[in-house]
Every structure is written in C-alpha cells, then in structure tokens.
C-alpha cells in the first residue's frame, strides 16, 4: 500500500480551518506557513486526529540568497500519508524561527544542524550549540555566500 502524499492545497485548507492566520498560501506540493506560526501549526498538525502527523521526517533549510526556505516533511504512520509545509524567512542576519523541539523531539539535531550550517536560529530549543563544526568557526558554510 502506497503512502498518500497530500497536495499543498489540501494541507493548506486543513490548516486554514483551525489557524487561518498561519497559512500564507500553497503550491503544488506544500503549504506555506507564516514563520511566526510554525509552533502553533506544528502542534495542530500533530494533535489533530484527522491529520495525525506524528512523525517528522526531516527539516531542511534552503538558501535562496534573498530569503531562506525552511521545509518540513511530515508523515502519519497511522493514516499512511505524508505532507510538506514550508516557511520563508527574508533577510540574511538574525534569522529565527520557533523551535518544534517540544512538538517533535526528532527535530533536535536537525534544528541544531540548520543553525550550524545555515545560520537560522530556533527559539525555544534548549541547546543551540554548533553540532557539526567547532565553536569559533566563522560563518555558516552551507550558505551560498560562504567562501
């Protein structure tokens, strides 16, 4: 049995019912969420029985020079479906997002990794140390302007 992948529109409509201010739009595969509402959206996505996204596959940040996209891949093991939501951060300095550590603990190292390599800070994460590189390393190497 194959896992069903939610279209962006479907997920954004489901989110909009409960959190109308959180949804910014959607595209083919993903729903776009307001950066400040990521925490609330995460709790809703996990706890709402009709969504039931209890498994966080991965968190990714992508550097598009003017802005950063942060992508969350989610799966529901019970309902056998998965979905993607994204959020967009403008600027290069002092970027921060609410942490989803309290919602999915699996986000722990991935958020630290994004902070280390991309320079997006996650507020509310208990331990935002550098994970891969050593303390005192200059810059965030996965950014496009590094080197």
């Amino acid at each position: 049995m194959a896992v069903r992948e939610w279209a962006g529109q479907e997920l954004s409509e489901a989110l909009r019912r409960e959190l109308p201010e959180a949804v910014e739009g959607f595209d083919e595969t993903a729903a776009w969420v307001n950066p400040s509402q990521v925490g609330a959206a995460a709790i809703f996505l996990r706890d709402e029985p009709s969504l039931d996204f209890r498994f966080l596959n991965s968190i990714t940040a992508i550097d598009y020079v003017e802005y950063f996209d942060v992508v969350y891949h989610l799966t529901s093991l019970k309902q056998q479906w998965c979905a993607v939501f994204k959020t967009r951060l403008y600027g290069r300095q002092d970027l921060s997002l609410p942490s989803v550590y309290q919602v999915w603990k699996g986000a722990d190292y991935q958020e630290r990794e994004i902070w280390d390599l991309m320079g997006v800070y996650f507020e509310g994460h208990p331990n935002m140390k550098r994970i891969m590189l050593w303390e005192g390393f200059e810059g965030h190497p996965l950014r496009k302007d590094f080197l």
Binding site: Q80, G106, I131, M132
Partner: protein
C-alpha cells in the same frame, strides 16, 4: 552502611575502540548509573552537502558512497531515486531488479556488521564478528565482480545502474546464497537464544513506540519498538512492489529486539534476493541519459529509501544548472541518535556501549 558518591562527568571518545567510528559522548555518572548524556558530533563532518552543490548530478554519486560506508549501495539507490524523481524518469525494469538485489545484498552486509559489533560490544571479541566478516567478505567480493570496488561502489547511476552484471556474477550469487544459508545458520545458532546475550540485553533500554515515533526514529530501531513501518512496504520503490517479504516487528522494544529484528531482516533480504533472481528479465540496465543532467529549474524531489539504518532520503532542489542547488541528506543515523537520552539515562555504565551498538549508528552518516 552506605557509600557516599557524587556525580562524575566522563568523556568518551572521539577515538574510542567501542564507539562506532569517531563518536564522542559526555556522560555524567552517579556511581554506575547514567544521569546525563551529551553527544558531541562532527568529527567526521566533511561537508558533503556543500560539495554536492559543486558537482554535477552524476559526480555526486561518488560522494554518496561515503556517507554510510557500510551500505554504499543503498545510498547510491536513494540518491539515484531522488534524481530520477527530479528528472521525472523511470529506470528500466532490469535496472530496478538489479538495484533491489544489490541493495538487499548490501543490507545483509550492513546488518552483519551491526550484529557482529553488537555482540562484540557485549564482550565477545572474535567468533561472532569473525563470522560476520566472513560472510561480508563474500558479499563484497560479489560487489567487486559487479563494479570493481568493495566499499565505495558507485554502482548506480541516475536512470539505472552503470552496467549490467557480468555473466559470472549469477553463478557466484547462487553459490553465495547456498553457502550463506549455512554460515548464517551457524551464526544464528550461536547467538539467537544465547543465554548470556539474553541476560545482557533482554529488558535493557526499552523504547516505547510513542517515544520512538516522537523522536523520528526509523528503520530497525523503530520496528523493534513495535511499529510496523518499512518504506519498502509503505512506499515501494524500485522492484519492491514485485516481491514478497515480511516486516519483523519487536514486541519487547529492548536491546535484544533491536538485535533480533536485524537477524530476521537478513532472512527477509534473502527471500527478496531469491525472488529477484526468479523475476529478473533481460533488457537494458540503464536509461540513455546525457552525462551531464540538467533538470528543470525550480523542481524539487524527496527520494527516500529504507536503508539498513532507517529512512535515508535525499532532498534535491534544482535551479536548472548542472549541479544540485541544494542537496539535503536525511540521514537515519543522526536522527536515530536523538533517542540517546531515553536509551541511556537511568541505565548502567555497562549497558551504555551495548545500547549504542543496538541503534547501530554510523558516523559517516551522522556527520556527513
């Protein structure tokens, strides 16, 4: 009379014989009990994701070999599936079967290492590990026959595999399967239901399913926690929808179950290999793609497979150039490590290394 103790913080690693690779962990002990854990990684951080942005789509295959170096074939497979989704192409059926077959062989090799080291960390240096490596050498020899290398295989390419298997591969595979039955039965007879092993591992560090899911644990560790979830079944890729196999699920969630699930998966892998040999048809083994691939700009693909350690996924974003714009590697080892606190805290010093061995991390993949 009570002995007064006070907590002590100990540094284990990064160069330590019984951590897998260059893993380092700081642990606070109270007597023999583990109170606090802080893993420290990055001793093998090679910047694979950054380097992947500088190479073209085919050249990245050589980097994926070195992620989880005990299962290079599966890494190749995951990456190639991601690129194929990015391009919107489908490999020919023969390539799919060859991929499934080699990935399963690699899974056996990886599980053999996991099992061998798990038992070694219990204190049995020698026989089980020797058994594991004996069979693994046979598999690596098959790989050498296929693609000329033992570990850094680079066998698969976007759109198939680099070349069909040579003729002498098939009888060699048959012979291997015959011998491996015997060799593995020998190992199983020694290890499974072994009293010493049972006493050391039964009931140690159980991970309940809710905790496992919340920590995004995947692969054999998740299945040992009683969650029936295998991407080969749930989202079949390559030829997995054509073959039959069972998913072993643990019932006690403990170290022994994590060990047991791996042993059972080897049997299922053998089943899959047999079916692949039955079903494989003649035909081309590679799509005619140009050497330098240029996917459409703005496309993204999330290609995932069930690797030997868990869900391995490549998230590729294309900007129309010859190199991936972003290549994120969702590595199972790193994310499985999230449960290290639940795994270790409250347990004894002697169980520490065993529990670490039971989640079977691989530093090449943790640090990338």
């Amino acid at each position: 009379m009570t002995i007064r103790t006070e907590p002590m913080t100990v540094n284990v690693g990064p160069q330590h014989p019984s951590t897998h690779g260059v893993f380092r962990v700081r642990i606070t002990f109270d007597g023999e009990d583990i109170v606090e854990v802080e893993p420290v990684f990055g001793y093998l951080h090679r910047g694979t994701e950054k380097l992947a942005e500088e190479r073209n789509y085919v050249q990245v295959v050589t980097l994926t070999d070195r992620l989880d170096y005990t299962s290079s074939m599966i890494n190749n497979q995951a990456y190639c599936i991601a690129v194929e989704r990015l391009l919107g192409v489908e490999p020919p059926p023969r390539a799919k079967y060859l991929r499934t077959l080699t990935a399963e062989l690699q899974r056996i090799a990886a599980h053999l290492i996991a099992v061998g080291f798990f038992v070694q960390e219990l204190g049995a240096f020698g026989t089980p590990l020797m058994y594991a490596f004996r069979s693994r050498e046979r598999i690596l020899e098959l790989f050498e026959m296929l693609c000329g290398a033992r570990i850094t295989v680079s066998y698969m390419r976007p759109g198939g595999v680099f070349a069909d298997a040579p003729r002498e591969f098939w009888p060699a595979l048959d012979r291997f399967l015959e011998d491996f039955e015997v060799e593995f039965a020998e190992m199983e007879q020694l290890l499974l239901e072994n009293e010493i092993l049972m006493i050391r591992t039964r009931g140690v560090s159980p991970i309940p399913p809710e905790v496992a899911v919340n920590n995004s644990v995947s692969g054999p560790v998740l299945r040992a926690s009683g969650v029936n979830w295998d991407w080969r079944k749930q989202d079949p890729y390559d030829a997995y929808d054509q073959v039959e196999f069972d998913v072993p699920v643990g019932s006690h969630w403990d170290n022994y179950d994590r060990f047991w699930v791996r042993i059972q998966e080897v049997h299922q892998s053998l089943r899959i290999i047999r079916q692949c040999i039955e079903q494989i048809e003649p035909g081309p083994a590679r799509l005619e793609l140009p050497l330098v691939l240029r996917p459409d700009p703005g496309r993204e693909a999330y290609g995932r497979v069930e690797a030997s350690k868990g869900e391995l996924a490549f998230y590729l974003v294309s900007d129309g150039g010859i190199a991936p714009y972003r290549c994120k590697i969702r590595s199972p080892s790193l994310i499985n490590l999230t449960i290290i606190e639940e795994l270790l805290v409250g347990w004894k010093l002697a169980d520490m290394i065993v529990s670490l061995g039971s989640i079977d991390i691989n530093m090449g993949e943790v640090d990338r």
